[in-house]
Point group: C2
Chain length 146, copies 2
DNA sequence: AGTTTGAGTTTACAGATGTAAACTTTAGTC
DNA sequence: GACTAAAGTTTACATCTGTAAACTCAAACT
């Protein structure tokens, strides 16, 4: 299971490549190019560039196999998702995050199990939750609320 | 209440400026520069650039007031947050989004009211939720799962 | 009225990102 | 062993971002 930390961020275009490799577990470039180009109108050269950047960033490992490489993920998909989501949330007013979750969840298809797990976690979280969260958009010492 | 749609995205640095204006409701550049530079080690010139870009993008409106402008948001904060979050989620495997929510919620401070509203929504959502969500990382016709 | 000063505008520039062609190398093929 | 074709590498280039200096212009002060 990949657990390596990565400092550099994975860009939107790179995510598309990573998702293929994450899903397949491993893949050669031919497979990646084949699958990605069915989802996006990108030339093979473009996808090669993305693969190259992901290797350089330490997101994909290579294993030589004859004349080509097998690529495998060096970072875990869930960890990458969590980091990306957390980064997005950090950007936003702490006070408004709850509503953002409500709206995001409303717009997202979730399985029964996912929903039950979420309810579970929320019920636990409720026992220690503060009554209110303050807006943190202004510098220390200023009071504000969105 | 600002409701304008915006096509261009607001960048990370621009978010910092928007949050000030959203929170204050309106502000002149002096105030924005003052507050933002208490949060980030940016020169006034940098913040001016960000303000200018936000005006050009249609995220901030200007009202002349003597020798300066009053800036007001043209887009709603919650809408911007929802769009940003949705964009991030769209990038991620549909099958894994539930777990991403679980982890994000675990890491986020939420108020009792927020949590209760989330539970409420989730309980409603549960009544129509599918048993499972499929991985959508591969092109049509391929089956995969992360 | 002339000068100062601060608000806003223009220009700058490096690095990241999306997009891709051109080139090099080498494993297979004949 | 020479050739070919595909894999990977280099180079390219426009746009976006982060970061900021320089410049312009008019409001406010003297």
């Amino acid at each position: 299971m990949p657990t390596t930390e990565i400092t550099e961020t994975i860009t939107n275009a790179e995510w598309c490549v990573m998702r293929i490799v994450w899903t397949l577990g491993q893949a050669d470039s031919h497979t990646i190019i084949d699958l990605v180009s069915q989802q996006h109108d990108w030339k093979a050269a473009t996808i090669k560039t993305l693969i190259g950047r992901l290797v350089k960033k330490g997101a994909l490992a290579t294993t030589k196999n004859g004349r080509q490489f097998i690529y495998t993920p060096l970072i875990a998909e869930q960890a990458a998702m969590d980091t990306a989501l957390a980064g997005q949330l950090d950007q936003m007013c702490a006070m408004c995050r709850g509503q953002a979750f409500v709206n995001a969840i409303d717009q997202t298809e979730l399985s029964q199990d996912d929903i039950q797990e979420l309810i579970q976690h929320l019920q636990t979280k409720l026992t220690t939750a503060p009554a209110t969260i303050s807006c943190d958009c202004l510098p220390e010492g200023y009071e504000g609320s969105c």
